[in-house]
Subunit: 191 residues, 2 copies
């Protein structure tokens, strides 16, 4: 199956904490590498890391630079290659704006989460990704804040609805990309 | 689709390092939680954490105890529940011995890795898991050591063969379990 260009976004604000309050979560080094390698394996065009916190953006830039230009680039070229798709964004709106600009004006954000059992099915999501450049949006902490679920943003159904459904964002993102693209699905490069 | 009981094993020895030498890798806190939550979401019977290093086994026991009995048990009950399936083993042989004992003598270890393009297909693996209690074996570091690929151990095909295929063990395990069990596949409880 052939798809339009695909992206993922990992949101650190606004997200919920365990009490349901809106917080800015900390950027995690392992999230960066796991998701960059995942995005590169599935040939995604962009991995947006979304945080408004200046010191977190600076930290992320330093990590990127280490693996792309510093000692890490020769120590582990796989990591360098993986980080090529990573882009830091101030907000989800900014990431979506960039994504649409890269795709000649079209592009849609599809939110993910464990709680939206009435969400878009995986086959409907595949159909959408064949038509439009989709940016899959993942929340850190205890999930994306309700304010992000605006009316024009489709929301993907949970991976495995049931009694226990507490996947880490890393494993959930892996499963979702594989369900959409599988063994042979191809996301197009940017136009 | 209905399967026999399923387990995963995360091997820290013998595994390869980046130079191809055999090493014992360090247990990672995040691997424990990510894979325990994954195993519980897909209702696996066991998650074997395999390491012969005594201090690593002690550390893992302390982490388990914190979340199962300590302050963590009330702070985050989801983690407690996830860790119920975790069992520490000295070696892959010991884990497999335990797995077979739990299943009345039957049970097969299926190895995973990014390099075995001639491995068992996912549909063949599903057929096997419907017949026998399968323990999926994952390597840390740069993958399982060649000595583990004994003749009687089937090896699963890579998730996504291609030019770039460097998934973390966390994301690879997630994709493999989802490919086998999907949205509705059910692993039986232990007999």
């Amino acid at each position: 199956m052939k798809f339009r260009p695909l992206a993922i976004a990992l949101v650190h604000y606004p997200v919920l904490d365990r009490r349901g309050d809106i917080v800015t979560s900390a950027v995690t080094n392992l999230d960066i590498h796991d998701l960059a390698r995942l995005a590169t394996t599935y040939r995604l065009a962009r991995f947006y890391l979304v945080t408004p916190a200046l010191e977190q953006r600076t930290l992320t830039s330093r990590i990127m630079k280490h693996w792309q230009e510093g000692y890490g680039a020769s120590y582990n070229p796989d990591r360098r290659q993986a980080l090529d798709c990573l882009q830091i964004s101030d907000s989800l709106d900014e990431a979506l704006h960039d994504w649409r600009e890269l795709n000649g004006g079209s592009g849609v954000a599809m939110l993910t989460g464990a709680r939206h059992e009435d969400g878009v099915s995986f086959s409907a999501a595949q159909a959408l990704a064949a038509e439009q450049p989709v940016m899959l949006v993942f929340g850190t902490g205890h999930g994306l804040a309700p304010v992000l679920y605006a009316a024009d943003r489709p929301c993907l159904a949970p991976v495995r609805p049931g009694s226990y459904n507490h996947l880490s964002v890393r494993t959930a993102a892996a499963i979702i990309l594989d369900r959409l693209l599988g063994d042979e699905g191809v996301a197009s490069p940017l136009p």
